[in-house]
């Protein structure tokens, strides 16, 4: 098992391994999305309280979960790149950052779209939305630092330190925002957590969770391959591969 990871550390193996995996990931993501959206929009019953608008959670909740998950992936792969000096870990971390930011923006917008019918305003300083907004700032800081440093390895190491510092701060930020929210809002606002879900509502959500995870794997591998193309363009193995297969 360990040798498998070790082989992945070499850009050549990672490129070929990802190349073989991407078609499978692509189709399974598509299928899962179709099932999830079909279940979410057609099969799941209307919510007695929120009517049809609750169907937005099938996008909002998985996106919010993915935004946290991707930051963890970034911090861990950054840490691996920092400690074991693995170039591929830096590639994974830098490819994951824009995806995490995309998920965070998606979660923020769908959150406010979901909240609009309930509160009548586009934005409300609810604990979860505020933490999501601060998480977006952390992503933007990561991406800004990465593009600010020219040397690739220094940039990757610096961003790894930032991601590790960020990942230590995320729970602190989350709980201080929660605490701050209970102070000002009090319990009147309907809590944002998922209402007790009937199973027929829960299944689409779990499908969408899985779909988003596979989707993240797919786009991460695609971006990583492009990054390898960029970094390894002068290596002999890359030239042979391009000339011989042209793909």
């Amino acid at each position: 098992m360990w040798s498998f990871f070790h082989r992945l550390a070499s850009p050549k193996h990672f490129y070929q391994f990802a190349g073989r995996l991407i078609p499978w990931l692509g189709w399974s993501t598509l299928v899962l999305f179709i099932i999830g959206i079909y279940l979410g929009l057609f099969v799941a019953p209307t919510d007695y309280q929120q009517g049809e608008s609750y169907r937005i959670i099938y996008i909002h909740v998985p996106a919010a979960w993915m935004s946290m998950f991707v930051y963890m992936v970034m911090a861990i792969s950054g840490g691996i790149g920092l400690i074991w000096k693995m170039k591929m870990a830096d590639v994974v971390a830098s490819s994951a950052a824009p995806l995490g930011a995309a998920f965070t923006i998606l979660a923020l917008v769908t959150g406010s779209l979901w909240g609009k019918p309930m509160w009548g305003t586009w934005w409300i300083w609810d604990a979860r939305l505020t933490s999501e907004l601060i998480l977006l700032f952390l992503y933007l800081g990561f991406i800004a630092l990465q593009s600010a440093i020219e040397d690739r390895r220094t940039a990757a190491n610096a961003c790894a330190v930032l991601a590790l510092v960020g990942v230590v701060n995320i729970p602190i930020i989350h709980y201080s925002v929660e605490w701050w929210n209970t102070l000002h809002q009090g319990a009147t606002v309907t809590r944002f957590d998922k209402p007790a879900m009937a199973t027929s509502m829960l299944i689409p959500l779990l499908t969408m969770f899985l779909a988003f995870k596979l989707y993240f794997g797919l786009t991460l591998l695609m971006r990583a391959r492009v990054e390898i193309l960029e970094r390894e363009r002068d290596t002999t193995w890359m030239k042979e591969m391009i000339t011989e297969s042209g793909k």
């Binding site: 920092l82 601060i134 952390l138 630092l145 330190v161 930020i173 605490w179």
Partner: protein
């Protein structure tokens, strides 16, 4: 490397940075003037009416303190990076975290402490009730070191860049949010004559966390930036 010589190295870095700061006095004064100006903008921009100012006073003072610390952060490593003494510190046999702690303490003495001494004056400017003054001083005393410690990480990450100023604020401000929340709320609660022990415990916990972990991250970031 007995810990006597380690503590001696810590003191030397602290004394060195303090003498350097005192010799370029404007570097100390500018953030403080900025602090006063920013606070006095709010009555002009919002309204001079005392009731309103009293409610926003804690938040305004703390945001101004945060921004003025941000301004003075760059001076921690910038000049040492340019003339090579940061390299000499990295190459000293003493652990870099201790030397970084010395530099951050010097920065706090030069930027955080004057803020604390100046803040009651600004409390008066914003009609902050008298009962809230001790809370203001206590939260600043616990909070400004955390601002310097976390800010040092951001500065260490951006010290190699030509214009890292704006990037520094983007990296560091999100990490300041927990301190801001607990500190400004503590002052508001104290103004309403309620006990603020809980908030102060949280601030103290963040201070303890920052004092132990931040120098490690700063030393690692410096080693990376000086590659």
């Amino acid at each position: 490397m007995t810990n006597a010589s380690l503590f001696n190295a810590f003191l030397t870095v602290l004394k060195r940075d303090l003498t350097l700061a005192l010799r370029t006095r404007s570097e100390i004064a500018n953030p403080l003037i900025f602090f006063i100006i920013v606070v006095s903008l709010f009555p002009l921009a919002v309204s001079p009416e005392s009731g309103l100012l009293r409610t926003v006073a804690p938040g305004v003072i703390w945001v101004a303190a945060l921004l003025s610390t941000m301004l003075s952060l760059d001076s921690i490593f910038r000049s040492d990076f340019e003339d090579g003494s940061l390299e000499q510190m990295l190459l000293s046999p003493h652990p870099m975290t201790v030397l970084v702690l010395g530099k951050v303490t010097a920065h706090w003495l030069v930027s955080g402490l004057p803020l604390i001494l100046l803040s009651p004056l600004l409390g008066v400017l914003l009609f902050l009730p008298f009962e809230a003054m001790p809370a203001l001083l206590a939260t600043l005393a616990l909070g400004t070191p955390v601002l310097s410690l976390i800010g040092a990480i951001g500065v260490a990450l951006t010290v190699g860049l030509r214009r890292g100023g704006v990037l520094l604020s983007l990296l560091v401000l999100p990490l300041y949010i927990p301190v801001l929340i607990f500190a400004s709320n503590a002052i508001a609660t104290a103004a309403a004559d309620l006990s603020i022990k809980g908030q102060l415990y949280f601030l103290a916990a963040m201070f303890a966390l920052a004092v132990t972990l931040a120098p490690l991250a700063t030393a690692a970031a410096l080693r990376i930036s000086l590659r």
